[in-house]
Symmetry: D2
């Protein structure tokens, strides 16, 4: 949507809730490898934070029979802004309704993306107050740097799979003010993928086409290091402890980010960002469009090609609908994943 003035009502991606079928292993991964802190447990959920996250938590891991995205939390830029967003979302029929709040934030209005990804927007937050022994004299850092793993600094972004990229991107733009920073287009000029943000980052929320045609799946969540060396460091830890790095360290063209992809034990894909990429300050940014032979550059600027899985695998893990009905997702995510990807690729090849 072309507005007369940019919409500034949503300020940031504030937190993510993911599902894990192996919650303790997932929590251990984020704590021991990525140096995150477990701040609280409530019900089936564990609330976690990176040491430079300013709010109480940015990642909620919830026990569930399969991996996936539970919801995305967005912070409005003011109480008025929140009110305006709720009104528009409600009128357009995307609304789910208000919740009283959750650990770390106040009342939130929940709604669906066109694809059914659950999102919420809120204003009130609880800032993290470090225990005395975790405080630091570096006053712009809410908690001292942890001593464990290669600690990530803060939540960066989330990447969603969608059955229809364009439709979901337009929703983010129209109703929430996300600007489309970059996009990959097919020969018909339809979106294969798009990167959107309300901040100066190249993306807070990215959307990629779901190769299986599924709705509401998660491609990956991303935490930030800011230094490329840390990708090498954490890769050592991951490889030597048997975690599966899917790709990287490498450097994307889109966003110019140096990064690495790994599967957390619950099966969700996690990206780690090794630098700041490039930042966008232009208030009238002209979307960068990648087409045809430029697409390869969009995906990889430096380093390895991405494996075929990267373009198929998401959570929850889904085989073709028919198969899924016959054989419900088993607990052994890893196995299923491999099988699913294999079949998805066979399908894709058959179609091609």
């Amino acid at each position: 949507m072309k507005r007369e003035e940019p919409l500034f009502d949503v300020g940031q991606l504030a937190h993510l809730e993911i599902y894990s079928p192996k919650i303790e292993e997932s929590v251990a991964f984020f704590k021991e490898i990525l140096g995150m802190t477990e701040v609280e447990r409530k019900g089936k959920s564990v609330y976690m934070r990176a040491y430079e996250d300013h709010y109480h938590n940015t990642l909620v891991i919830t026990d569930h029979h399969e991996a996936g995205l539970a919801h995305i939390g967005l912070r409005a830029t003011s109480p008025n802004a929140l009110e305006r967003r709720v009104k528009e979302l409600e009128e357009a029929g995307y609304g789910i309704g208000w919740i009283e709040g959750d650990v770390g934030h106040g009342p939130a209005y929940q709604f669906n993306s066109p694809d059914g990804h659950v999102m919420e927007v809120f204003w009130e937050v609880e800032y993290y107050e470090a225990p005395e022994e975790e405080k630091t004299h570096l006053l712009n850092r809410p908690q001292r740097r942890p001593n464990t793993g290669v600690p990530v600094r803060r939540l960066d972004h989330v990447n969603l799979l969608a059955s229809n990229v364009r439709k979901n991107v337009e929703f983010l733009d129209d109703y929430l003010g996300f600007n489309v920073r970059e996009r990959i287009l097919n020969d018909e000029n339809d979106d294969i993928a798009a990167w959107t943000s309300v901040t100066n980052l190249a993306h807070d929320i990215a959307i990629m086409g779901d190769a299986l045609g599924e709705k509401g799946r998660l491609h990956h969540i991303c935490y930030w290091y800011g230094y490329p060396q840390h990708l090498t460091d954490v890769a050592d830890l991951l490889i030597e402890r048997g975690f599966q790095i899917e790709a990287g360290p490498l450097k994307h063209g889109v966003s110019q980010a140096s990064c690495l992809y790994v599967f957390e034990p619950g099966g969700n894909r996690v990206e780690l960002f090794g630098d700041a990429g490039y930042l966008i300050f232009d208030p009238d940014w002209r979307t960068v469009e990648w087409k045809g032979e430029d697409v390869q550059t969009a995906i990889i600027w430096q380093g390895e090609e991405l494996p075929a899985d990267f373009f198929v695998y998401g959570t929850p893990v889904r085989e073709k609908v028919e198969i899924a009905e016959q054989a419900p997702i088993q607990e052994e995510t890893e196995e299923v994943r491999v099988q699913s990807v294999k079949e998805a690729k066979q399908e894709a090849e058959t179609k091609a």
Copy 2:
């Protein structure tokens, strides 16, 4: 000023114009050491850009009898936003008036800060169009990476000296929407220095108290690398070519930036940023306040103490007013600088 909603009318620091009494040497410094491109010359000015700046230029160097800041260019977030800012500035009596535009941007409204720093705000810009041989397949990069020096990526921020920090900071906040991200306070809770931004950076414009009580001087301008290694690399070039590094590589507490300070041949202080520091996404950011024994941490987190000059020297170089009237600033900036700093320190000591 506490507003009901944040003000989003100014989007970014878009360019800076500095004065140089040794213009060709200044231009050579930015080209050969910092890898910047000379895009155009007009009148007494040379227009330059870093390779990831998206507009036509971000640095104008203008021939002048002494170093200093000519003006600061700010981009509004929309034509309406521009109109609103102009109206308020005009009504408040800060306005200078419209100019038709300059190389790289359209009509701009000029105004004074309380201290008399000249600023302008505008909407229309010219995007840089690289010549064929400088184009890159990395489509979010407007120009391929240069082959010369250790090339900076983009303009980062400007740091001003002011006779009254609080007053100038409040002006930036009230009339332009700059948020105060961090501040150093003295025992009376008055600002010694403040860092403000309209972006997610910890600062687009910083203001420090002028130890000489002068008005309108420049402390430094800053370009961005994004990688700490480049500070080491450029330090090699600078040291071996006889440029004077004032301090660094070091890591500030404020902004968490790894940086280095050097004097360009015209006498202006230039900072180079080696990483992204930390970014601020919280729309309700609580200003980080450094006082008392924390101030040393604010200034230096890792590495060396800053030399006394750092807190005195600015451009234009100014001795005490009485002396300046008797002996106008000579062309030998360096000499004057040393002398000036010495006297300023003597004065400061006498006062203390």
Copy 3:
């Protein structure tokens, strides 16, 4: 050979001479991208150096109808050591004979490896004396850091293809004192590749099996950065100027080096080293042996798999002997390379 005491007669890899069918383009590559200095020209050769090489030159590029390795220069640890090596090589029938010297070094004794790679060993060297404007106050650096490209610091190693790895490695060990630091073995415990050194580096000379069964070819030469960031930096320059990066940045298991492979315009493969890898101080080092499923780790620790070409392509570019007789190598190296690799792979597949 198991000696009672280690042999310390050869001290280092001192220089390399390579052939180029496009000499001016090759020289330009090493100067403009890798920041090397052209020190002298003589006959058909250009003598070049990296800025932290201490001798007059470390790379000689010689005009030739096809790419490849002309010779390897080794420095003895003393005049006596030189004498001892010459005597043994001569007696064993590997000797070619003495040359008077070359630009940058004195009398050298030339000899063949079992595969026919030409090597020489010498004692007298000429140290580089930088012109006044290239001198630096950093007295352990023979020349100030160049302002061009992403300058490499020094020669690191050479990697040879051989028709029989074991035989050539044993020669290096027995006659020159090269220690086998790491090796990749096939199921019959024969060497697929080996890394040898007389220094604390994991290798000064590596040898890999030639997939085409050819003798005396070059796999790659390597220059050293010492900082991983520089691989990212130089990759930008290479990609945006149309040079072909074969692989990387990546991190090998063998040597733990972060590196990148690129083809210089003459067709020779050049490796760039981004860190120090690991160093070996143990005088009784037990060769690290990679076999079976560990081989993949030996090749890649972090990052992408190497392309199939990597294990086939060498210089001079050689098709199967029969074909080569019918169609002599054309000047268009690149084309030939592609063709050659394709055929070699077909052959390999046919055999498999």
Copy 4:
């Protein structure tokens, strides 16, 4: 001593034993901050290792009433080489005698440096065998990368204080084959400090003049990272946990190393190396000599000046002899240190 051929009998600095008056705190520092492993305890000693050390241990921390260096362990290059060294040391009267061995190595011959630093040379070593869960597929790495602190990779060097630098350096050269790589000279061409090695490193053992005229003291021990980023990382940990960084991150001229100095809780100074500096392969290396105005460059190439303490403080902490006799060194190392340095400087100033 100018030999006809270089002496290759000593291969490396293999381990260090230091004293600590706060042994558990010292051990905790090396484990929790530097990620080292405690391998064994025996008697009053704790045996530790970095994860890329190949032998059983490289650091022995022994309970003692004051900090300092207990002994330096050197590995010979062969049994014959060991025999030769012992013979010469014995004949020259430096010998102490054989010990049966210690945890991690076999029979060792102990001797004194002219200043009385205890050293030993040996041949037989025990290689580290990691427990199953600490093994890695990276076969040239003896133990997987630890998950704690910012783990150092291996022992790098030791720096001794000596009452007479030249005499001790000549001893290292004449009797052990250490090559003088760099030296700082005073106006009378006497050594203020010297850096010596038997490896390609710029130093395995450095010697600096003891400002107090004491004999046998330790300036610092050094472990190696190989990546500058890790200095920033560990500095965060150190600062936020209240350890005192004496200087750095900075870059020396001598050795070109990026480094940081910190006091371990026992009072010994520990250096951390952030890169490989430069390596020396020239078998006939001409000692780099720094004199007069170049000395400042030798000490600091990039970053801060070293504090005055750096040139005075060593362990064991020693006041002037007269004072020391009256008031024996107290357990509160830190206090004593501050006092001692203050007095030493007063003395130095009085002398000057």
